[in-house]
């Protein structure tokens, strides 16, 4: 039988026959039994000093402390489609107001498809549509999921009507002169601009709230990233929707989305970099395993997409390629952040070590009366 689950963060489970270390532990002496902490210095041979992340920690036989979200891949897929819907509504409104019909059409249709996909993903996660309605009985400010549901509910009619107007526009003109299609297209031609602007108004909150959705949990790598994650996600949303515009619109209309692509990609990459630096040990899952591969792919795709977008002023083909790279990069970011969080919840290291570090630094918490 093993001893109590003492582990090295960088090694396999180890039993600690060392009785002394255990007995030195008394209340409040949080650091007493951890002579070497994460990021501490340790001698490696004569004269060579290395910074080693040697976080020693204890757990109940290596079992998780917090529970991972019981969500499947429809949630990161929704993070992506929600961002795409949000950004596309903004691009569509801009294109509408500045007279770029192809870009408007692409973005409105993209927003409509992304919205439909988002709804499907959420309903699939819940199991049946009627369960979505349970969330519309309350509005709860402390629940990002409740707030997000209302943002999506506000966004849907605007983006939906604008998208429908665009869909109807695809029907040959002589087939929608009278009858049901005729009345529908007359009504929609009146409301499509206000509807599109209405949808665009909900775009920014729709793109940002999903970061809070993840961060407002005890999942270490999600919670610790709460300062920068909203910027990563809005950058990612901008890059993805600009990417879609690059794919669907001719070169003479893509000026704004080329700028948006570069701006979004730079924001995402810079915010992501800052985020990792501010997360301490909980940044680790973003570098390891599948999440690590996804995050690396995201960086390469986003950077390449941004460069391509900037240079695509003359080449439609380059624009399409760059747009695809940007969209793929955005998807990789969402899946990477999602998976890193799940990993961080399943390993007690990411719960115990940061909490011990904070205790050693600041002592027990004391919220005032």
């Amino acid at each position: 039988m093993t001893g109590p689950g003492q582990h090295r963060a960088d090694g396999p489970e180890q039993a600690h026959p060392d009785d002394e270390r255990q007995t030195t532990a008394v209340i409040g002496s949080a650091g007493g039994r951890r002579p070497r902490r994460a990021g501490g210095r340790r001698k490696h041979g004569p004269g060579i000093e290395q910074v080693v992340p040697d976080a020693e920690f204890t757990s109940y036989y290596g079992r998780p402390i917090v529970k991972a979200a019981p969500w499947e891949h429809d949630i990161p897929a929704y993070l992506f489609s929600g961002g795409l819907a949000a950004g596309s509504a903004l691009v569509a409104a801009g294109a509408d107001l500045t007279g770029r019909p192809q870009l408007r059409r692409t973005s409105r249709l993209g927003a409509l498809v992304a919205l439909a996909f988002s709804g499907a993903a959420l309903v699939h996660d819940l199991g049946k549509p009627s369960r979505f309605v349970n969330m519309l009985r309350v509005a709860k400010l402390t629940s990002p999921m409740s707030v997000g549901t209302w943002i999506l509910t506000g966004y849907a009619p605007g983006a939906g009507l604008a998208g429908l107007a665009e869909l109807l526009d695809l029907v040959p003109a002589d087939r929608r002169r009278d009858g049901v299609l005729g009345s529908a297209s007359r009504v929609l031609s009146w409301v499509d601009r206000p509807a599109g602007l209405w949808g665009a108004l909900f775009g920014p909150p729709l793109a940002a709230y999903t970061a809070v959705l993840l961060s407002d949990t005890a999942t270490p790598s999600w919670h610790e990233s709460y300062r920068e994650l909203p910027f990563v996600f809005v950058g990612s949303a901008a890059a993805a929707s600009a990417g879609l515009g690059l794919i669907g619109a001719p070169v003479h209309e893509t000026g704004p989305v080329r700028r948006l692509a570069v701006g979004g990609a730079v924001l995402e990459l810079v915010a992501e970099h800052r985020m990792e630096r501010s997360m301490g040990i909980t940044a680790e899952p973003l570098h390891e395993g599948r999440a690590g591969r996804l995050m690396r792919a995201a960086k390469v795709l986003t950077a390449a997409g941004a460069v391509g977008a900037a240079l695509s002023g003359r080449s439609r083909a380059l624009g399409v390629l760059s747009g695809a790279a940007l969209m793929a990069g955005s998807a990789c970011t969402r899946f990477g952040v999602f998976e890193a969080g799940i990993e961080s919840a399943n390993d007690p290291k990411y719960t115990v070590v940061p909490q011990r570090e904070r205790l050693a630094r600041e002592g027990p918490r004391h919220f005032p009366e």
Binding site: G3, S59, V91, G94, L126, D216, R227, F367, P368
Partner: protein, 327 residues
């Protein structure tokens, strides 16, 4: 109620904070004194029976005598077993003269406390001083903490999780939509979405300890506390339990058990104090508890500001992209 003083963090009466008037009963909770737990699992069984919680597996974890693994949707009480290469503080059956400290630890093996040799028990493996095994069991019956600031309740988008008049946190099965948001929100990993077994009620719905809401309503003691043969699980008013816990830890310190410590008793801590208080004999993480838990919604105002700034950045950025120079 948001906006109230300390409504997201800090000391507060959770029942009043949830909007109950002055007439509500006193806050109820547990004091679980793990120093006298014998690991009999009576609490686990009583909870399953009373609350009709389905069994879903029965296998050893292979790391200790734990066969119920963790708190989850089908396990509302969980007894943790920890084997440590460490000498017991002291165990005494209370059969010797009164000058020997009695910690109330049920035991059949007389052991030495104050340097006196207890060698009357030849053959039990406990011989003269120095031959005592450097080995101890820690057992602890874990349960939902019924936090003052309950993250599960805060993030629930349907209002299924609610604060009862007893200050406890309960899921309403018929309102929960199975979104699972409460699961990653709980800083203790307590609540979970029921995965099975097939045919059990409430599959797909979040489930956890209700602090026997039905029994409380009838003025009864929760099933687990009622069944505990050593009174390791004590039920009562949280105010009174906090005092009892302080007295018990002082008693153990006096007896030389300096490892004894309380967990969750401080209303100033990261969750505003828990309704379930524990007395532990080692650091919290040894038992699978987070050492420094924080209700995630304590940071929510900050998260909200960051997200608003990010949303504004996106809006301005998109606008600039369109008003910028024409290509």
């Amino acid at each position: 109620m948001i906006g109230g003083r300390n409504s997201l963090s800090g000391p507060v009466d959770p029942t009043a904070n949830a909007g109950y008037g002055d007439e509500h009963p006193k806050r109820k909770g547990f004091f679980t004194d793990t120093s006298i737990c014998i690991g009999c699992k009576a609490c686990e069984v009583a909870c399953k029976e009373w609350n009709d919680v389905p069994a879903d597996h029965f296998d050893m974890t292979a790391t200790s005598y734990d066969n119920s693994h963790s708190l989850n949707a089908n396990q509302w009480r969980h007894v943790a077993f920890i084997e440590q290469p460490k000498r017991l503080g002291s165990q005494d059956p209370g059969l010797r003269p009164p000058e020997v400290t009695d910690l109330g630890m049920p035991s059949v093996r007389p052991t030495d406390t104050a340097g006196a040799v207890a060698d009357g028990a030849g053959g039990t493996g406990v011989g003269a001083e120095g031959e005592k095994p450097d080995f101890r069991w820690l057992m602890s019956s874990d349960v939902c903490k019924h936090c003052t600031h309950a993250a599960c309740l805060d993030v629930c988008p349907t209002g299924s999780l609610f604060r009862t008049e007893f200050g406890t946190v309960v899921v309403q099965d018929d309102i929960c939509n199975g979104c699972g948001y409460c699961v990653p929100a709980c800083p203790y990993g307590v609540i979970d979405r029921r995965k099975g077994p097939d045919g059990a009620k409430n599959v797909g719905i979040a489930q956890k300890c209700t602090l026997c809401y039905d029994r409380l309503g009838a003025g009864q003691t929760p099933a687990c506390a009622q069944s505990c043969p050593t009174q390791s699980i004590q039920f009562g008013d949280v105010d009174e339990l906090r005092e009892r816990a302080n007295a018990r830890v002082a008693q153990l310190h006096e007896a030389g058990v300096m490892d004894a410590r309380l967990y969750g008793n401080d209303p100033h801590d990261g969750v505003g104090g828990t309704g379930s208080i524990f007395l532990l004999l080692d650091e919290p993480e040894v038992y699978g508890f987070p050492p420094d838990p924080l209700v995630t919604t304590a940071d929510l105002p900050h998260m909200f500001r960051r997200a608003s700034a990010a949303a504004a950045t996106l809006l301005v950025g998109a606008a600039l992209a369109f008003v910028g120079r024409r290509p």
